[in-house]
Each structure stands twice: as C-alpha cells, then as structure tokens.
Amino acid sequence: MKARAQKLKVLVVDDEASVLMTYRLILEQQGYDVAAAATSREAIDAVKENDFDLILCDFSLEQQHSGFEVIDAARRKDPNVPCVLLTGYATLETADQAKQNGIEVLYKPIDIAEFLHTTSRLTRLKHESNQEER
C-alpha cells in the first residue's frame, strides 16, 4: 500500500445511513479513497464525476430504485469497473442476473473477512488490468 502513490477509489452505496457509514469507515481503514452515496441519484452523480476502482452497491435502494441502476450507470462509463451487489433481499434470480453481468454478490449480513477479501481481490484485479492497459 505504501507503494501506491494514489489511493484506490471505492464507491459505496446504501440507503441506510448507519450501514453506509460503517462500510465507509471499514474501507477507509483499509486505505481506500471512499465515496459514499445514500441514494441512487447521488450514486449516479458520483459515478459520472469520478472514476472508481470498485463499486459496492446495495440492491434495494430508496423508492424501488435498484442497485442495478447505479451499476448500469457506472458500467456505461467504465464497462470494466468491478461491482459488488450488497443485498439482504436478493433471490436466486437476482443473484443469477448479477452473475450474468459480472457482478459479485455479497449477502447481508456480510462476513467482514469475506467483505475485505472480495474488495481487495477486485481492486487488485482492476489495478492489474489497468497496468496491462498502460
């Protein structure tokens, strides 16, 4: 991590403020540059303005909005951005849909070790592919 001049940028989206805050703190603890969004609107705006290395998004957002919308928006900007769907609801179909679209799914309550492992794996993959591009 010391080697890195620039911190990896992570977007975390959850409509529950407390959950959102704890995710942000955990990720910052890990040394990520964390952007937090509580609504799909905020999240989509953030996606438009920044290039994220990882997007962690709750499945069910405010007013029937879905995490897929945010992911769709991020993918439109960067098709290769790793995305993780955080969900308590998601049925098998949702999981299937996510998998088909190359989206990782983490079921709440999320085991923190798994959470940290997944985020680091995905950011490393992203970072590696970015370097290959260069």
């Binding site: 407390s18 955990i26 709440k108 309550p109």
Partner: protein, 705 residues
C-alpha cells in the same frame, strides 16, 4: 131334493099325536125335517081334501126341464106325459108357471078333466139370514114374495146368499066343479106347504154352505199347516187364536216338556206379544225382526215378522195375522258379508296406513327415490326425485330433467335386465335449479313377486355434493393454513430483513471498534461481537430460506404467452383450436414468470375445453396508458368461441371449486388465476355469452426497475 120314489111318504107317523086318527096338515108339514118330505105330505093332504089325484112338476133351472117330482094316485106310466120344458110356450101348464098365478086349466092333453095348477116358488116375506146379517134388502126370497111377475130363469139366484131358488107346479085334478071352499083350502094348503118348503130349503142351503165352508176352512187349514213359515192369528188382545205347526214349534208347549222348553216357549210368546204390541203402537210398521228360540233344537233363530191386521165382516179390527219368515241364514249371510266387508275395510285401512307411513318415510328420506316396474318403467318418484326427473305422469319440457331422465333410464334398464340383485353406480345428474352437475351415488335393489319374478326395482340416489362441499371446505381450510403459514414466513422474512440492516451497521461498528476498546472492556466487547455474530447467523438463515423462493423479475409477457402456447400446441391442435395472437410492444413486467405461465396455461386450457367442436382462440397484448398511473398497464385479452358461461355462474367462477367441466375440472383453475393476478397487483375480469364465447381480460401494472 130329488125324490127317489113316488111312493115315498112321510114314514114316521107313529111319533105324531093321534087326535081322532087324523093329524092336521099344518102339523104334518111342520114335522117334516127335510125339503123332500114336503111334496108327499102335500099330495096326501090334497087327496085327503077330496081331490082325486095330484102331482108336482118340478122345474130344473139349469136345463129348463119340467119333470114330475111327486105324484099321488097316478099310474107310473101316466107320468112321462107331463115331461115338458119351460120353453114349451104352447103348453098351458108352462104358461101357468111363467105367470106364477094359480089357474084352472080346462082342456089339456093330459086329462079330460080340468086341472088346478098352482105354481110354487121359493119366496118369503122376510129377507134371508145372510141379507139380514149384512143388512141388505137385496134378497131373492123377498123379491119373489113381493113381485108377481113372469118367472125369470136367470134371476132365480139370490145375489146375497147365492141360493138357487126352486120352482114347481102343483097340479090337482078336479073331477067336477068343486065347491069354492074346497078350492080355497087347496090353495091355502099349497101355500102353507111352500112356506115350510122355503124354510127347509133355506136351512138346507145354509147347511150346504156350511159344509162348503168347512171344506174351504179345512183346505185353508191344510194350506196354513203345510206352510213352513210360522203363521199365527191373534185376537185384538194378542192372544193366539190359531197357529200353524211351524208356529207351534215356538209358541206351543209340546206334550212332553222340560223346564228349558217351557222357558223357551214362554220367552218366545213374550217376545212375540211384545213385537205385536209395539207394531200395533206404530201403525206404519208391518215388519219386525224377532229372535226366537227353537224349543226343540234350543237354537236361536231370527225371524222377520210381517203382521197384517184382520177385520171382521163389519170392518172392525179383530186381530192380526202374522207370518214369520226365518231369516237366520239370510241374516247370517248378511252379517257374514258385513263382517267380511268390515275385515276388508280394516285390511284396507291397514294397507292405507302402511302406504301413508311408507310415503311419509319416502318423503323424509332426504334422498331421491325411484321405483320402477319390471319393464324398467318408473312408477314412483319421491318429491326429490320428481325435482330431478320431472313429474311421472306427464312428459317434462325441462331439458335438464329430460337429460337426467335419460341417464336414469339407461341405468335402471341396465340394472332391471341384469342378473344382479343389487347395484350401485355413480350417476352424473344436473341439478335443475342450479344447472350444476351433481354426482349421485345410485344404489338399487330388486323386489321380487311371489313367483320370483322381478316386480319392482328401488333406486335411492345419494347426493355427494354435500360431502364434496365438506371436502372442499377442508381443502380450503388447509389452503388457508398454508397461506397463513406462507404469510407468517413472509412476515418473518420481512422482520429479518428489517433487522438485517441495523444489524449490519452494528456488526460493522463492532469491527471498527476492534483493538480500540479499553483492555478492561475486552470481555464485554467479545460478548458484543459474538452475540452479534449469532444474530447475524439467524438472520442469514432466515433470509437464505426466503431467497430460495421464486422471485419476481422483469420479463416479457409476450414471451411467457409464447412459451405457454408452445407447451399446449399439440393439445390445441388435437382439439381443432386455431390460435390467433396479436402481440403488442410491451415493457418488461416485473412478475413471477412461472406463476404467470400458470395463469396463461389455465386460461388457454379452459378456452380449449369450452370449444368442444373446435374453434378460435385469440390472444392480444397491449400496453395501455391510464390516468393516475405512472407507467400504465399491460393488458392481455384471451378470447374463445366456446360454449360460454351461464349468467348465473359468472359471479362464482373465480371461487374455488366452481367448475363447468364436471368431473374433469378441479374448480381451482380460475381461482388460482385470480390469486396470482391479485398477488401481482393486477386486475382480472370476464365477459361471456352462452353459445358465443368468453373473454378474459388481465391487466398487470407496469413497474419500472
């Protein structure tokens, strides 16, 4: 009356008093006791008066012949000359007869001397006894006495006492012209003789009448005695005057008697007398039943007594004639007839009561009952059966009843002509009021006649719809329980999810606090951490369970319909159903795909089943905009050209177990359809016309993800 001999004279003269040797003529005549004695005495007295000779010519009114009846001092050979007839008009003697006037005939063929002719005829100054008794004046005796007229042959019979008169002519020969005194004496003598003769004649007539009457009486008596029925003549005081043998059996004590017989006879007499008295009290009544005891047999016999009052010649009631007819046998037969009739009536009553009771039972069994005869022809329906099959006597116009009858007839015929004694089978009949098919469990038995032939079959139909309804109710209850369970599951899942988010935050917060807590607080932190992990596990478990169920996702409804049609293609083809689909552009619908496939499948199969002879199936989908709705609706129309749904069923078709398909249908298809559409926030409606077809309309809300 006729004289046997001309010499016949009064023989018993010794009895006469002899006063100087000569008994006066009047006394001699008085001594005569018989009419035949008069003429000889008269002739003797005529000679005694000094006349030479005399004779009596008697008239026979039957033949009109006039013959000598007695003569004195005539030689026998001289007499035949006098034979003549009342019709010999030229005979002067006959003329005297006709004139009824004593005359002296001077010149005759009989004698050269003059003849004194004195006609004699039955006559009297007083009416005969009969006329006197009957208070009549019409008497021949007085008629002849009063009238001096020509002798009339026809009228010489008394109209009152029927006595035939006699007539004769006393002919006295005169030798010379006799002195007038002698002639007077002669006339007086002859008249006197005639007086006595008339009297004797009358007596003899009554004696003859009496003998005749005796004959008649004895004849009547033998008639009466020979009658088998008792005949009794009673006087005004109901005392028995006369009775025949048949009556004597009951009312007269036999020679050899016993105490019992005496009592029986006494009783009979008492009863008879009482019957007579009561009949006398009731003038109109002539018949009366009377029970008498046969004194010799000791047997009670029933008689019908007919009494007729008898009257004396004066018209005064003199008693009663009672004829009794033995009606014992007749009455016994009558009573037996009556008893038999009564028995019959009682038997009929019992039969009627039995029948009524049976009918009552039949009416209250609560199941339709059908009785058919040996030809499988129905002869009895109970009221419930009548509702199903129509009245027995007339042919029903109700098509449902006609159909039911056909089903029933087929079943009963098969059973009647089978060898089975009993039979049970399920009959599908249609309830005429609800038009719904009802399954009846038909149970039949045979009733045999005394020859062992099938006389009747009895079929009891048991309606299973009640039991089935109960089963339906049970299923519904079970489904409700399942639904409750599912709801509980959903509630649990909701709670788990709601818990999930705050717990996620707690869990994260605990992680963040790791290594930062006061070492003294470490054990507390560990508890916090482990217990939170525990809650997390529970929640994860619950949510994991829920996650396994089918979830809603955006799908294209058109695709779902196409999937369904593909699946049912062969069935539809076999049923000769042409499918016409018209799919509009649709936004993805957020639905449970499998559930919606079920909906389409149910509706398409229903449509197919309603088109028994083939038909067309239209499916059209459109997105429709609606005011107040953000995204509009997806509308799906499924229409068929089938038999349609009767209006009375249209309101209930979405209820569970309502079916128009009978056994084939579960009655759940449309109920499931309604449930699924309802769960998706959709709407479902139906329009149908019997014989034309049915259209189902589904509207699903468009949900944007």
């Amino acid at each position: 009356m006729r004289l046997k001999s001309l010499e016949l004279v009064s023989s018993d003269r010794s009895a006469l008093p002899d006063s100087g040797g000569r008994v006066p003529a009047a006394l001699r005549l008085l001594q005569a006791e018989r009419s035949e004695e008069i003429y000889p005495i008269l002739l003797e007295e005529i000679v005694r008066l000094g006349f030479p000779r005399a004779l009596i010519l008697a008239v026979d009114f039957e033949s009109g012949a006039i013959t000598p009846a007695a003569a004195i001092r005539y030689q026998e050979k001289q007499l035949p000359r006098f034979h003549t007839s009342l019709f010999a008009a030229d005979n002067p003697l006959v003329g005297v007869m006709h004139e009824l006037k004593p005359t002296v005939v001077r010149k005759t063929d009989y004698s050269s001397r003059p003849l004194y002719c004195h006609p004699i005829i039955y006559r009297n100054a007083n009416v005969c006894w009969e006329a006197e008794r009957e208070r009549k004046v019409d008497c021949l005796a007085t008629d002849n006495y009063r009238a001096r007229r020509r002798l009339d042959l026809d009228s010489q019979v008394c109209r009152t006492c029927e006595m035939r008169a006699y007539s004769a002519l006393a002919v006295v020969e005169l030798h010379k012209k006799p002195p007038a005194r002698q002639m007077q004496e002669l006339g007086a003598l002859i008249e006197l003789s005639n007086r006595y003769l008339s009297r004797l004649y009358k007596i003899e007539h009554y004696y003859n009448r009496m003998s005749d009457m005796e004959v008649t009486i004895s004849q009547m008596n033998s008639v009466m005695m020979s009658m088998a029925d008792p005949v009794i003549l009673t006087d005004a005081h109901h005392q028995v005057i006369m009775q025949n043998q048949a009556a004597a059996r009951f009312f007269k004590l036999p020679e050899v008697t016993t105490e019992g017989l005496v009592r029986a006879v006494e009783l009979n007499n008492m009863l008879f007398s009482a019957a007579l008295s009561s009949m006398a009290m009731a003038p109109g009544e002539t018949h009366r039943d009377l029970t008498l005891v046969d004194a010799s047999e000791g047997e009670e016999l029933l008689f019908e007594a007919v009494s007729v009052p008898s009257y004396s010649r004066d018209g005064i009631p003199s008693g009663m004639v009672t004829v009794m007819r033995d009606v014992t046998d007749l009455r016994r037969a009558d009573q037996e007839l009556q008893a038999n009739y009564e028995k019959l009536r009682i038997a009929e009553d019992i039969v009627r009561q039995d029948r009524d009771r049976l009918n009552l039972v039949l009416e209250n069994v609560g199941d339709p009952i059908v009785v058919a005869d040996s030809d499988a022809k129905t002869v009895l329906f109970d009221p419930l059966a009548q509702a199903l099959f129509g009245p027995l006597t007339e042919t029903t116009a109700n098509t449902v009843q006609v159909k039911n009858q056909a089903v029933l007839d087929a079943y009963i015929s098969a059973f009647t002509f089978s060898f089975a004694n009993t039979e049970s089978q399920t009959l599908k009949l249609i309830d005429p009021s609800s038009k719904q098919e009802v399954e009846y469990d038909a149970r039949s038995g045979k009733i045999y006649d005394e020859r062992g032939q099938v006389a009747y079959t009895v079929t009891v139909l048991r309606d299973f719809s009640a039991i089935r309804k109960l089963e339906q109710l049970k299923v519904e209850r079970r489904m409700l329980e399942i639904e409750k369970f599912a709801a509980a599951g959903r509630l649990a899942a909701t709670i788990a999810h709601e818990v999930n988010n705050p717990m996620e935050a707690i869990k994260n917060a605990i992680y963040l606090l790791a290594g930062r807590v006061n070492p003294e607080a470490e054990p507390v932190y560990d508890i916090l951490k482990s217990e939170t992990e525990r809650v997390a596990r529970i929640v994860r478990q619950m949510l994991g369970l829920y996650r396994n169920q089918e979830s809603v996702k955006p799908v294209n409804v058109n695709t779902l319909i196409e999937d369904t049609l593909l699946l049912l293609a062969r069935q539809l083809q076999r049923a000769d159903v042409e499918v016409v689909h018209d799919f509009g552009d649709l936004p993805p619908a957020v639905v449970a795909a499998d559930q919606l496939r079920q909906v389409f499948s149910n509706l398409v199969i229903n449509a197919k089943d309603s088109m028994t002879g083939g038909g067309k199936l239209w499916i059209r989908t459109r997105q429709v905009a609606r005011r107040h709705d953000l995204h509009g609706w997806i509308r799906i129309l499924i229409a068929d050209t089938g038999s349609g749904i009767p209006p009375e069923l249209i309101d209930t078709i979405f209820e569970p177990f309502v079916t128009t398909k009978g056994e084939k249908g579960t009655g759940l298809g449309l109920w499931i359809v309604k449930g699924i559409i309802g769960n998706h926030g959709g709407r479902l409606s139906v329009r149908s016309k019997v014989g034309k077809g049915t259209v189902f309309k589904i509207e699903l809300p468009v949900v944007r993800l």
